[in-house]
Assembly symmetry: C2
Homo-oligomer: 425 residues x 2
């Protein structure tokens, strides 16, 4: 008998009909002979509605109270799912994050899971009941206060619970059919990826693919928990996120890069710190200033003028942190000694993800070539072992994604990954 | 420094403006030098909306899950009140019933409080924070499941918490100015009662006065916790519910009845079991049948025909339990041997409440006289030490309430309780 953890997102639980459909799927899994533990998000837009209520009473609500408020969302959806299952003749018991043993640190709004002690979940399973667990929430180890895990937190709850329970699989149900080689809304010929490694999935998620969240994939990789991302609106196979498969004897010795997909991100902006004196420690001062405002940056480019001896330092950051970063830098202008600041949010980032590309300069060359052939101007570049990213004008982003997808043989109907002979995906 | 527990109902917390107004009142109490603990109900109609959601997914939701669902209501309101207080510059911390140490039995939907261990509430007070506690909810001692206390449960939470914390007063904020000598919508001259004993308040509540719930008053009486019922929309004094005051030396030896008020109830119905054989144990069989259906009955009248030797037994019960009681009795018709059943929901009950009336037959005589003079026909009668109730036709109920209120000198402008010289209310 296998144990499967199923996670259902808000779009699958948008209304009573959605909840009943999810209940039927859970019961079908049970009837197929599996043990099931369910993790749910809040219904549809209810988290946004709770945020709106908070804004109406306070411009800057305390994080502890915001967490207390938002966790009402999953409480409602989990009780309703349990009721709908009971109506189909199976016993279901709902549990809050705290009751399910999801222990976190005290960072309200972005808490990290420290431990999972799912005694009550195991107990419910032993009693023959289907446990329904609130995603996205936990209880802090120190203060016993209710916490939330931040964006995508329900996925992380599901993987963490699957790991703690020793489940065979963690199924993440969503409103798309799986992970695609590119966003099908931009690239009509994008293909579902049947199987992807944790590493590639991490780069896809970090580069803007929204289907799974970074922390959930990191958690799954650490404990080697297989994730199956699939649609709650169909019974089709989705995408399996697993360890990178052993290439097998016939491929040993080969280290051809394997192209997985193209991701894009419209949520970033760039800041250019212009006219920075060319002195040791100035760049460190800039990035300490940004870090002090608790802002994560992504790509960095520095260019030094041979004439003035001064440098321009540009970096990308989440667009929503733009104001905060600009204020922090302005406050440090005298100390850093730069001349001016330029903020630009009309940018987009396109990323090519695949294993082993760093050691194949041909991949970068083809990537840049594809963008150039489509008339797309590259503004910044960064690479990792399994990713190349380029910042381009926002208006060029769709063209860049399509061109890259085509150039690397990912379009439906093309031979699979022709350029680098990628098989075994 | 006094410690006051304040309870705010759903009508005071209907929207963001209501929540901000409540926050201001809480902060004002704090600024006046008092320690404050707050108990809140769910916002406005939100509990009804959650009930609707439950009905949409299941015709008969499991009680455990219904409790899990409904408790989301106070979770939302308590977090919002805490945020609104923080926005006024004071620290507030919200606590669920479980976190506040409200321990109950496992009777989901109508749990009883077994114990209150408010360690976290005391801790928050010591830290200088204002604790905001979810009313209506607790955690079961045995299974550690979330429970709800049933109708009026938030009032009970407030009194129980006030008792456990050793508070000086429990203030119940509502949308009326206090407890009145009759419902002002029926009797325009009804007066606010400045002070009422627990016993009289219990009879008022049991007889249909909706402002406070029976269990809350029972709890307050057991622990002698003074309750102040008042409006959250004004700063006027309301009604103090306390121990019956010592009559004082100048009144010693006097045992004049003291008329408190007139209550009415439209929520009941009568069932008449007609043609019951006049045998020992038949009445017991009828009421065991009703009790077996978990239905509380109120008044009972038996009349025996001298001709047939058979009896009619009539009793009152909550109207919503009518169907269940009729089915239970029909199922036992052969065993009991009655001839027919008559259900009537076109009735109302008027009750006169006041201390010491049983030993003054004049009170009953005047009560019946007042009804007769107004042309109101009495169908059933019951009395207790401090109450006389009459069942009348539903159409006559308002007339009966007004006539009684006038006859006992309770109308505004009349000398206070002229008939029996009642003072010291």
């Amino acid at each position: 008998m296998t144990l499967v953890v199923q996670k259902y997102g808000g779009s699958s639980l948008a209304d009573a009909d959605g909840i009943k459909r999810v209940a039927q799927r859970i019961v079908a899994t049970r009837k197929a002979g599996h043990l099931v533990v369910v993790v749910v998000s809040a219904m549809g837009d209810s988290t946004d509605e709770l945020h709106d209520l908070a804004r109406q009473v306070s411009p800057l609500p305390p994080a502890r109270e915001l967490d207390m408020l938002l966790t009402a969302g999953e409480r409602i959806s989990m009780a309703l799912v349990a009721m709908a299952i009971a109506n189909l003749g199976f016993e279901a018991r709902s549990f809050t994050g705290s009751q399910a043993g999801v222990i976190t640190d005290s960072a309200h709004g972005k808490a990290r899971i420290i431990d999972v002690t799912p005694g009550r979940i195991s107990g419910a399973l032993s009693d023959g009941a289907i446990p329904i667990v609130a995603g996205f929430q936990g209880v802090s180890q120190d203060s016993k206060d209710v916490t939330t895990l931040g964006r995508g937190g329900s996925d992380t709850t599901a993987v963490a619970l699957a790991t703690a329970l020793g489940a065979d699989t963690c199924e993440i149900y969503t409103d798309v059919d799986g992970v695609f080689t590119a966003d099908p809304r931009i690239v009509p010929g994008a293909r579902r990826i049947p199987r992807i490694s944790y590493e590639d999935m991490l780069e896809m998620a970090a580069s803007g693919a929204r289907v799974l969240h970074l922390r959930c994939v990191e958690y799954a990789r650490r404990y080697a928990m297989p994730i199956h991302v699939r649609s709650s609106f169909s019974s089709k196979e989705g995408t399996w996120v697993t360890r990178r498969p052993d290439p097998g004897p016939e491929r040993s010795g080969m280290d051809q890069p394997i192209i997985t997909g193209v991701a894009h991100d419209r949520s970033e902006a760039t800041i250019t710190v212009a006219g920075v004196p060319d002195k040791v420690g100035v760049a460190a001062m800039i990035f300490r200033t940004i870090a002090g405002a608790n802002i994560n940056i992504d790509m960095i480019v520095q260019s030094t003028s041979q004439v003035t001896g001064r440098a321009d330092i540009s970096f990308t950051l989440p667009r929503r942190d733009g104001q905060a970063a600009m204020s922090a830098l302005r406050g440090a202008q005298d100390a850093i000694g730069f001349e001016s600041l330029i903020f630009d949010d009309r940018i987009g980032k396109v990323s090519l993800i695949g294993a082993g590309m760093r050691s194949h300069p041909g991949v970068s060359a083809d990537f840049f070539g594809a963008l150039a052939d489509s008339g797309v101007n590259i503004r910044m570049i960064s690479t990792s072992e399994i990713r190349i990213s380029a910042v381009v004008d926002a208006a060029d982003l769709d063209t860049a994604v399509r061109a890259t997808h085509r150039a690397f043989g990912l379009d439906d109907g093309q031979t699979e990954a022709v350029v680098y002979g990628g098989t075994g995906r």
